[in-house]
């Protein structure tokens, strides 16, 4: 029970308090690039959740049971990027071949994920910080769901921005970044959300 609670708390904390985009700065490129439409941001977000969770599940054992016993922990980055890239290609291949409907909604976002720093960032961060498997999984789930949440919310705001009267120089990306700053202020308010909880 205790484990379950701390697992859920860890998910919530890496989702809200330490949000990927707004406080850890992972995945800014798709955050700014694929957020003009709610539908496309949803597709990107779901694809990222899928790949991050899978990558976490593979990378943690790879590091702890293969690279560390072999005495080559410094190969981690190479191994992770290979895992992530092949994962993306395999998932893409599967979808392309067997599920045209899924391909229609997710297919174009999959190749983008290899260069999304959130995936490598989570895998690398998990082992750099020496988290255990459960915490890594919680971090992976929390981070990716946090990404999904933030990119969808952001795209909703951007849709409205398109039709609002913004100073000419701020049109497009600059105002989007200012909006992101305001969102970051809002998320700063969530800090210390769980600090009073004692397990």
């Amino acid at each position: 029970m205790n484990i379950l609670i701390s697992f859920l708390l860890a998910i919530l904390s890496s989702m809200l308090i330490d949000n990927v985009v707004l406080s850890r700065f992972y995945g800014i490129c798709p955050f700014l690039g694929v957020s003009r439409k709610v539908k496309s941001s949803l597709g990107m977000g779901v694809a990222v959740v899928f790949v991050i969770v899978l990558a976490t599940v593979i990378c943690w054992p790879l590091y702890n049971f293969v690279l560390v016993p072999a005495g080559i922990p410094f190969m981690d980055t190479v191994a992770y990027i290979l895992v992530i890239a092949s994962l993306v290609q395999l998932v893409g291949l599967f979808i392309k071949k067997y599920s045209p409907s899924l391909y229609k909604s997710l297919g174009i976002y999959l190749p983008l994920i290899t260069t999304n720093c959130a995936v490598l960032g989570v895998a690398q961060g998990n082992t750099d910080q020496g988290l255990n498997f459960l915490s890594s999984l919680a971090n992976g789930i929390g981070t990716s769901v946090g990404f999904l949440l933030i990119i969808v919310v952001f795209s909703c705001i951007r849709v409205r921005l398109e039709s609002s009267n913004v100073p000419k120089a701020f049109k497009g990306l600059p105002i989007a970044l200012i909006v992101a700053a305001i969102m970051a202020i809002a998320f700063m308010g969530l800090q210390g959300l769980f600090s009073g909880i004692q397990l």
């Binding site: 080559i72 988290l131 915490s135 210390g192 600090s195 009073g196």
Partner: protein, 179 residues
């Protein structure tokens, strides 16, 4: 068909050579840097010991601790001023690696007979609330403003981890007498 096969072989060989060269380069760099990285680690420990004790603190002996009962403690250092332990632990907010120092305490009568908790030094602090933890827990603890089991500080998880580490080293030190 033969042409095709040749092309595949050339591709495979090229890639193999690239991969092998990459691995070789990384291995070579590791040979050069591993020593330096270990040395940096050593320097950091020395800095921590100076921070906890005094400028003239010195490491006399280093010993790896390999007791299965101990969850966090990795190394024990015998110093001219006392004893220090290197502990590493992590919770879901990240890893903490720190030194716990015990100074020789002078009890009334003039002879050095027991050890007293002297302070901690964080070597790596990768907690999410790293700065809160240092401000509200580690600094007051080192200044004797709070007790180590007073973990309510805004970074409770990190503080609890540190508390558990200190409790473990306290247990090791229990009953030890300085000569």
């Amino acid at each position: 068909m033969a042409n095709n096969a040749k092309k595949y072989i050339i591709t495979a060989v090229t890639l193999g050579v690239i991969a092998a060269a990459s691995a070789g380069l990384i291995g070579l760099t590791n040979l050069f840097t591993a020593k330096q990285i270990a040395l940096n680690e050593q320097k950091r420990i020395k800095a921590g010991i100076v921070e906890i004790f005094a400028d003239d603190a010195e490491i006399l002996e280093e010993k790896a601790v390999s007791d299965k009962e101990l969850k966090y403690t990795n190394y024990e250092y015998t110093l001219n001023k006392g004893v220090a332990f290197r502990t590493t632990g992590s919770n879901m907010y990240g890893k903490i690696s720190m030194l716990v120092g015990y100074g020789k305490g002078i009890i009334p009568g003039g002879s050095e007979t027991s050890y007293k908790f002297a302070g901690i030094y964080l070597i790596t602090n990768e907690q999410t609330y790293a700065s809160t933890l240092v401000e509200n827990y580690v600094t007051p603890l080192n200044n004797d403003d709070i007790n180590y089991d007073d973990v309510k500080c805004g970074a409770t998880y990190g503080a609890t981890l540190i508390k558990e580490m200190i409790e473990e080293t306290n247990k090791i030190m229990e009953g030890r007498k300085a000569e």
